[in-house]
Symmetry: C2
Subunit: 127 residues, 2 copies
């Protein structure tokens, strides 16, 4: 059984969840050992909520659950990337991804309009 390194961040590892469909980063959150085990056992993503200081089954109240398709770990075992099938928006603000804004070179926030179509679907190139 894999042993992640929960020691660097007070009992947590960083979890990056990406969209199974297109690989976009949906959100960044954190897992303690219990959240990681529950995620492995159930196939549904669980995090540890730092603000509520407790286990957080993503989508428990909203229904916007994340079904695990693949879990990757990094070289030093303190971060995971989860490829998941996302039901509804991942972001509590209603966006598919929490990363719906870009930062301009001048350091200003720019709302990134949601794409209605992925260019790769139209042109066959990489998005």
């Amino acid at each position: 059984m894999i042993k992640l390194d929960f020691g660097k961040m007070g009992g947590l590892v960083t979890a990056v969840t990406v969209d199974y469909d297109n690989g976009d980063v949906l959100m960044v959150a954190y897992m303690n050992e219990e959240a990681f085990q529950r995620t492995l056992e159930t196939g549904i993503v669980h995090y540890f909520s730092r603000s509520r200081n407790k286990l957080w089954k993503k989508g428990e109240s909203s229904g916007h659950v994340q079904k695990v398709e693949e879990i990757r770990v990094d070289c030093d075992l303190d971060a995971v990337v989860i490829r998941a099938r996302q039901t509804g928006p991942a972001c509590h603000e209603g966006y598919r991804s929490c990363f719906f804004r870009t930062v301009s070179p001048a350091g200003e926030l720019v709302l990134h309009p949601e794409r209605q179509l992925d260019p790769s679907e139209i042109y066959g190139g990489k998005s």
Copy 2:
């Protein structure tokens, strides 16, 4: 000028760097305010090394720098996703990505063989 929330993690935000070419997550690291500002100003990714406790210009010794193409921020401003052009491998272990292993449903580490070709290049689908 954007104000990130460096307060939740002792002066750091989480930085997820993805490959400009295919969107794969290359690495997860952390930035303090100086690292974020240097990244914005220079267009070259800088992190804060938690192990060395200092500013870390990625690739400074190896030459494996990351050129910023886009920076996104999440809804609560405590994480960034950087789409970058990666020179050479991102991982110090010589892999393109630090996430070169998957976790099996049974919790075992599985070396993920590097793909020689992206299926989307062959079949035109999404990877």
